[in-house]
């Protein structure tokens, strides 16, 4: 048992080592996680990172004292960006986690039961997917009122259908395989079949989808904040910082540039890792 687990671990490690993209991506994500977890220790000016203004130092360019410069309230931008990691991560985890949970549950039930429930879930998700991506979220958050909480709700609302459809389609194809039919014939309970046989065989597709979505949600939440519908001041949201630096972009270029760079790099890392995971978990490609 132990040696088997060890072997799997070694295999995973060797995959990581052989994959420069995966190494770069996971290093970036490790830094991102560290920033989110230990913001006040890592930030050079933790008080300013948390939002305290420092009017004596407004709009100073990048220098040795302030590596990335300061914003219009004199706050150290590097500290602000480090403090932005936590809201970005929490937003992304909340949205993807809830959407995946709701979508997986509905998808599993729809795929396993079929019939009326299946039709209902599929038509409902089709309705949500008949709008251009992000449009529903934008409309919902506008009508509910701007702010982080409503942005989260709005993003979940337009994200769950993807999971419901993915899980439903996969569980349908697995359900028709002999081992599930045998389990059913032997009287294994529906719940056990769904969690043991269906869900376990879908896990890899689910992981790939989640890895890719974690980045995409950060991008979407940043977009909402940028046009003023997401997180509100004095939040250290990266998209909001890009918007705040926009009015002074030609003179104090560093605010928008570095805040947006943070979004870009983190999303890029998630997408790179998602891509590598897809290749790794795809049995067709692994065989080669």
């Amino acid at each position: 048992m132990d040696t088997k687990a060890m072997k799997i671990k070694v295999a995973k490690l060797s995959w990581l080592v052989a994959n420069p993209y995966a190494i770069v991506a996971s290093s970036i994500l490790t830094i991102f996680l560290a920033c989110a977890a230990f913001s006040s220790w890592l930030a050079p000016y933790p008080k300013e990172g948390a939002g305290a203004p420092n009017v004596a130092h407004t709009l100073i360019g990048p220098s040795r004292l302030h590596l990335l410069g300061t914003d219009e309230l004199g706050r150290d931008l590097l500290s602000r960006i480090i403090f932005g990691a936590r809201p970005a991560l929490l937003t992304s985890l909340t949205v993807v986690g809830t959407a995946a949970l709701v979508g997986t549950l509905l998808g599993l039930i729809a795929g396993f039961r079929g019939g009326l429930i299946d039709a209902a879930v599929m038509r409902l998700s089709e309705l949500f997917l008949s709008f251009p991506p992000l449009l529903l979220s934008l409309v919902a958050v506008s009508l509910l009122g701007p702010g982080l909480r409503n942005a989260l709700i709005a993003l979940i609302v337009s994200w769950w259908p993807w999971y419901a459809r993915l899980i439903r389609n996969e569980s349908r194809s697995i359900k028709s395989q002999p081992f599930v039919e045998i389990a059913q014939a032997m009287g294994v309970s529906s719940w056990k079949i769904m969690t043991r046989h269906l869900l376990r065989n879908i896990t890899s597709s689910l992981i790939v989808q989640i890895a890719a979505d974690l980045g995409t949600v950060i991008l979407a939440a940043g977009s909402l904040a940028f046009i003023g519908l997401g997180a509100q001041p004095p939040s250290s949201d990266w998209g909001l910082m890009v918007a705040q630096g926009r009015t002074v972009i030609f003179d104090q270029w560093w605010i928008s540039t570095f805040a947006g760079l943070a979004i870009f790099i983190v999303v890029l890392a998630f997408n790179l890792l998602g891509d590598e995971l897809r290749d790794y978990l795809d049995p067709r490609k692994r065989a080669k």
Binding site: F131, P132, P133, L219, G239, R246, G260, F264, L268, F270
Partner: protein, 337 residues
């Protein structure tokens, strides 16, 4: 063909009906009172009652919905709260510049995406292929609003190569006015031979179109590379190569034909993304299109405009999907209508 059209029309009208219901419900749960928003802060109670009756807000909800539906079908999409103009009128005026922007962006995305995808598939183990891979993932990871600002900073602020905002230079209106023929300003300028306006328009459209194109470029490059690699590994390509058929013929005549359908699907999908992409890009570049109008409507909770835009977005999405299906059935005889 006609069967496909009919099938699509019926499902499209169902989706639009559902979309109208959806937007209507959303607009009813607005916490802020639309009547109050309409009359503004300096109104009397009598004004408020008058407006409430005028907007039909004193009727029961189902009655309001059917009235709304009747109005939508008969072309009365309500009045924008912020501009006080008919929503449909605003949409008609602002849609053409947006469609021009999307068209140029999709053009950029297809050209660069296909070229890069083909190069990466042709030389799969080169440094260039690795770079193209990172570049295509960067394309789908970059925030459009930030890319827009960066391009402005670099090409407008530092280098001064392109104008910052708008669709034309402001003096064009006086020196070389564009004659209204189709309503598409850049297109109209081109067919009337108004080259001063065309030049100005092209200079203005490059940066926003590039910004908007980044996402589609990433998807198209990725998809065309992956598909070409798969096609290259098939026997008929191996045979052709063994017979000494030139690489050019292999790529353009044999491989591309089979690699292209998924690329078209992904192009359509990414074009749908561009619809919401314009909300951000048009705001950054002050483009006189529907995207900037939509962004403002969303921020100011201009609910008649929001409802109109939601319907328009759903209709646009359906249209793009329909066009993609049409192209696919035309070029791939295996797909049946």
């Amino acid at each position: 063909m006609i069967r496909l059209l009919w099938k699509r029309l019926t499902s499209a009208s169902l989706v639009l009906l559902a979309a109208s219901f959806f937007t209507f419900i959303l607009a009813r749960i607005v916490p802020s009172d639309p009547a109050l928003a309409y009359v503004g802060p300096k109104s009397t109670a009598a004004d408020e009652v008058r407006i409430r009756t005028m907007l039909g807000l004193d009727q029961p909800i189902p009655v309001q919905y059917f009235k709304y539906l009747k109005d939508v079908i008969s072309g009365n999409w309500g009045y924008s709260l912020s501009t006080k103009q008919p929503v449909l009128h605003e949409i008609a005026n602002r849609l053409p510049p947006t469609i021009e922007l999307i068209a140029v962006a999709v053009g950029f995305a297809i050209i660069f995406g296909l070229i890069f995808g083909m190069l990466a598939a042709r030389f799969p183990h080169s440094v260039g292929a690795a770079l193209i891979r990172v570049l295509s993932i960067a394309g789908i990871s970059v925030p459009a609003f930030w890319l827009g600002l960066l391009l402005q900073l670099l090409f407008v602020g530092r280098l001064g190569w392109f104008p910052a905002t708008g669709e034309f230079d402001l003096d064009i209106k006086f020196t070389n006015p564009i004659h209204h023929i189709t309503g598409f300003p850049l297109f109209d300028a081109a067919i009337t031979g108004n080259w001063v306006a065309v030049t100005s328009g092209l200079q203005h459209i490059v940066l926003p179109a590039l910004t908007l194109a980044a996402y589609s470029f990433g998807l198209i490059a990725r998809m065309s590379r992956a598909n070409l690699l798969e096609v290259f590994s098939q026997d008929y390509i191996k045979v052709a190569r063994a017979y000494g058929v030139s690489e050019r013929v292999v790529l353009f005549k044999l491989a591309l034909k089979n690699a292209i359908p998924p690329v078209i699907t992904v192009t359509g999908l990414s074009t749908a993304y561009l619809i919401t992409g314009t909300f951000f890009v048009e705001q950054v570049y002050n483009w006189p299109g529907i995207g900037g109008f939509a962004a403002n409507a969303l921020i100011s909770v201009d609910y008649p405009a929001i409802m109109g835009i939601t319907l328009l977005g759903a209709a646009g999405y359906l249209t793009i999907n329909f066009i993609v299906d049409l192209i696919l059935t035309k070029i791939d005889p295996r797909i049946e209508a």
